[in-house]
Amino acid sequence: MVVATLLGRHMTGKLPAIATAACIGFILASTMPSAAETRMLVVAGLGGEVDYAEAFADQAATTAHHAEAAGAKVTLLAGEAARTEGIRAAIAAIAAETGEDDKVIVHLIGHGTFDEEHYRFNVPGPDPTAEHLAQWLRPVTAKRQLAVIATSSSGAAQEPFAREGRTVITATRSGRERNAVVFAGFWADALADPNTDVDKDQQISADEAFRFTEQAVADFYEGTERIATEHSRMQGDAGRFIIARTAPAEPVDPEVVHLVDRVDEITAAIDTLRADRRLLTDDAYFERLQELLMELATLERQIKTHGKPDVPETPTADGAPP
């Protein structure tokens, strides 16, 4: 991870513990050979007050750490490094380093403003507008891009950021939701919470993180009996961006690659079956689903126990999923 900060809050680059789930499952998707990579820019904007500055820096660090652990190459800008020119340079570097097949993620944390015309991301020095940021991103050729703008008034950035192939997530639905947001904090929490991983593939997608955060923000305002001053918004498909893992990936033993291929086939067959569910009776659907899942379960076990002495396989003792 590339870290740039002039605040004296030196980041060591050491990752925090991401997940200590009891069951370290076998990670299939991430082990598939792929030339494409994920490049991510995380920016902690100007806090204004010490509490905000610390919170933004922590949230940015957490976001960066999780993304890196999930395989992304991350640039983190904080403090004086997060000036307009620093952001512009970082984006230019990403544009230069990535191709069409790569994924690019830009994640902004901090305060934003909206003057009824332009959204501005608050950083030391002149604030870049949404139009500036969008313009700097123009040279990026990656077909799959994600912008997470976790600031007040960020809803106003939706339109300037909109582009084919780019998913845009904002903490507010419009520029007029001007209060400081809690979205970024809950987003950081989501990355560390195994429950965010709803499909249990041991990866947390931006879509899963968004759903988790959206609910957490709503619960926060309801629980504290405050009028909700932020309503997050997502345009596009965020499910394609993996931004955290609930367990570290394990390398694939070449001897079980054929099993992994079969797992992919079964997974695809399950997807097809789910899509066709309306055409089947409940009994027929679940019977077929069970057949596929039984084979999947058997394969998973074979892959996991390959080369290991026979150990009885049981779920976690306390009944808690990882």
């Binding site: 709803v198 499909d199 689903l289 779920p315 009944g319």
Partner: protein, 748 residues
């Protein structure tokens, strides 16, 4: 269209004719064949002729007379316009303002009425009608001010019939029949038909609440005014005050028999049908009430509520009917079922009455909806209400435990009412039913006091009660009901709740618990509070009061609310400074001064200080004391669970987790964690309930929720359900490793 007469709200007959009110009207009386008063009087015996009479007055040159005529013809809009015109012409005429105010009062626009009565008093500070108008406003709002205002009128005019009638109502409300009877002596023989009928109606009501039925006054009233449904409304009102809703319904039905267009009776009937769980009938009647009187906001609100209830689920079991919002019903059902079952059994056995009918529980996620159900009832603590066998209350989603709403305790409290109301056929006094419910919350309820407490072995009272006691503001038992119905100071209702609980505690401790049963039996036999207390305890009620005072002296001895406040403030300031040694000392003093688990409780601060000072064992003990004393803050209990988990005190951790989940049952994470703890301790049946509840709350991780359910079913050897849920989990998350393993295990 509403047909309302210029009278007390909900009592349709005038106390005095309009032509007597003003010089202008009196002049009109001399000129015209009929006066408004003639028309109003005629309405008692011959409604059609009264209509003709009013029609003739519509062309009158004086707008105040026209207003009376329009009012008599139910055209309240025209009456309002005419009164406005009349006041415009005679801005200094207090009489017209009072009559206009009475029109507003009759059409539920209380604030406007109050303004007009106030303006009339500015013109004439001695105006009895204006004072009485304000008294009626206060009366309808169950304000103690009503008494002072009525007395003010009577001080100036001891024979003022309207004031005497209101005085009688105030006395009847608190069961003071002697005072009511004295007040009615004059009005009941009044030459004014309206006053006489109202007085006779009150006499009939007095007979009814004393079980002297049929009352001879009923026939006398109907002989004078065959359509005088207001009498039955009056009787019903006093039945409602005494929680006797079924009897109220019968009287309101009688009101409609004699006057099918008495819309206020329709409204009251609909409201009371709801209180006895006759929802469909209530809906029909309220729709008719609204058709006849679209100005009644309470009817509109109730109809809206009923419309929304159409989508609700009603779960029926032998001993429980639960009506709850679809999003909450599955999560609440296991707890409501258990709480109601336990409360009926435990409290029922303690008071010798276990109902053989189901308890109906309605749980409202919106506090406004609960408020609609309790509208028109005095002294509701805004937590819950029991209408005999029907309990209505806020859901924990309406108000959380951290806002001071312990819904589980509130439900226990309400079920205790079901017991005391059932045991007495709803004849129990307010203070006693509340006292028993509070006592049962403290001693048998889900957040009851357990274990040792530095100040004694009983739950610490609230500070406001100690303060009220020391300020000599607690009421004697004979008038304790007044503290609920017409409080004279802020918080008196809450003080009266706790005082009643303490009084029941005192009676049980000094005369044995069976004394409470004897008092219940006396109420069932129709005794008054003084009779019930004196016969059951075999002491004069003054002796009870004196003994109670001594008891409180001892009970509150050592409780120092001032020292508590100062110590807590010092602890809070020190915490802000990070001076944890001072926090520990000051919070410790606060605990010693007033060991309360209620917010602001000093225990959490003390525990935090102990943690910061490196003593987690002591901190754990402090928080356990807090929990055992009934403290239920979710954040504090979560912290305690953490500490207990760290020290592997699994049994206590599970107990505290149960408390936490009980008070915050709509948090799927709480339910899930309790389920995990239960499953780990080989309690799959209980775990399953928690997991199913969590799933019903639409958790973010629904695959995980299904998986957990599958695990619990699997432990219960319910293979079919286990398979179904593991497939549902895997349908969402096909690569869910643990679920795949479980599927293999199930199909092994």
């Amino acid at each position: 269209m509403i047909r309302t007469f210029p009278v007390l709200p909900r009592h349709r007959y005038p106390k005095r004719g309009a032509c007597l009110l003003t010089f202008a009207l009196a002049t009109a009386c001399l000129v015209d064949a009929a006066t408004p008063e003639d028309c109003w009087t005629l309405a008692f015996s011959d409604r059609d002729s009264a209509q003709d009479c009013f029609i003739e007055l519509l062309e009158h040159e004086y707008p105040a007379v026209v207003a009376e005529a329009a009012w008599g013809l139910d055209d309240v809009q025209a009456a309002n316009r005419a009164f406005r015109l009349a006041v415009g012409r005679e801005p200094d005429n207090a009489d017209i303002k009072v009559r206009w105010g009475e029109l507003f009062l009759a059409t539920y626009q209380v604030a406007d009425a109050q303004t007009l009565f106030g303006e009339a008093l500015e013109i004439d500070p001695t105006h009895a009608g204006a004072k009485l108008g304000l008294a009626r406003v206060a009366f309808d709002r169950f304000e103690a001010e009503a008494r002072r205002l009525v007395q003010g009128v009577l001080d100036a005019e001891p024979d003022h019939t309207g004031a005497l009638l209101l005085l009688a109502r105030l006395a009847l409300e608190v069961g003071d029949h002697e005072r009511a009877r004295q007040a009615l002596e004059g009005p009941v023989v009044s030459a004014n038909t309206a006053h006489r009928l109202e007085a006779m109606g009150l006499m009939a009501a007095m007979d009814h609440v004393a079980d002297r039925v049929p009352s001879p006054w009923e026939d006398k009233v109907l002989a004078i005014a065959p359509g005088y449904g207001a009498m039955f409304e009056t009787i019903a009102h006093f039945y409602v005050i005494g929680h006797r809703y079924r009897e109220a319904v019968i009287q309101l039905e009688r009101a409609l028999e004699v006057d099918p267009t008495l819309w206020s009776a329709h409204a009251a009937l609909g409201t009371n049908l709801l209180r006895i769980n006759r929802f469909e009938d209530a809906k029909e009647i309220l729709a008719r009430a609204h058709e006849g009187d679209p100005y009644n906001a309470q009817v509109v609100n109730t109809l809206r509520l009923l419309d929304s209830l159409d989508a609700w689920q009603v779960l029926r079991e032998d001993d429980l009917i639960l009506r709850a919002h679809p999003a909450e019903v599955d999560a609440l059902k296991p707890y409501v079922g258990r709480l109601v079952g336990d409360a009926v059994r435990v409290v029922g056995e303690r008071y010798g009455f276990v109902p053989d009918y189901p308890v109906v529980v309605e749980i409202y996620p919106r506090h406004q909806d609960f408020a609609v159900r309790t509208s028109g009832l005095p002294g509701i603590g805004a937590l819950g209400v029991a209408f005999g066998d029907v309990v209505a209350m806020d859901s924990p989603s309406a108000r959380s435990i951290d806002e001071g709403f312990d819904w589980a305790s509130a439900l226990w409290h309400e079920v205790a009412h079901v017991i005391t109301l059932g045991a007495t056929d709803n004849r129990v006094s307010r203070w006693f039913t509340e006292g028993v419910s509070v006592l049962e919350e403290w001693t048998t309820g889900p957040s009851r006091f357990q274990g040792a407490n530095p100040a004694g072995r009983r739950r610490a009272p609230t500070r406001m009660v100690v303060a009220a006691y020391r300020d000599d503001r607690l009421l004697p038992v004979a008038t304790l009901d007044e503290g609920f119905i017409r409080p004279t100071y802020q918080q008196q209702v809450m003080v009266s709740y706790v005082q009643s609980g303490l009084l029941c505690e005192y009676i049980a401790e000094t005369h044995g618990h069976e004394a409470l049963q004897r008092i219940l039996a006396a109420y069932r036999a129709g005794k008054s509070t003084i009779q019930a207390v004196e016969e059951s305890l075999e002491i004069p009620h003054e002796t009870l009061d004196a003994g109670f005072k001594d008891y409180l002296d001892e009970r509150f001895d050592g409780l120092d609310t001032d020292a508590f406040g100062k110590a807590l403030e010092e602890a809070s300031s020190a915490a802000d400074e990070g001076d944890w040694a001072t926090v520990a000392t000051a919070a410790g003093r606060a605990v010693a001064s007033f060991p309360t688990p209620d917010p602001p409780s000093p225990y959490p601060l003390l525990a935090e200080a102990q943690m910061r000072l490196g003593d987690p064992v002591e901190a754990t003990q402090t928080l356990l004391t807090y929990w055992r004393a009934g403290g239920r803050s979710t954040s504090v209990l979560s912290r305690l669970i953490e500490l207990l988990d760290q020290s592997e005190r699994d049994d206590e951790a599970l107990d505290v987790r149960r408390s936490l989940t009980l008070v915050a049952p709509l948090d799927p994470a709480n339910r899930t964690r309790l389920g995990d703890a239960l499953l780990a301790r080989e309690k799959p049946r209980e775990a399953l309930d928690e997991y199913l509840a969590a799933l019903s709350l639409d958790p973010h991780d629904s695959a995980g929720a299904h998986y957990r359910i599958a695990r619990a079913y699997h432990r219960l050897n319910d293979t079919e359900n286990a398979r179904r849920h593991v497939l549902l989990a895997l349908e969402i998350a096909p690569r869910f490793s643990d679920a795949l393993s479980l599927l293999l295990e199930i199909n092994r």
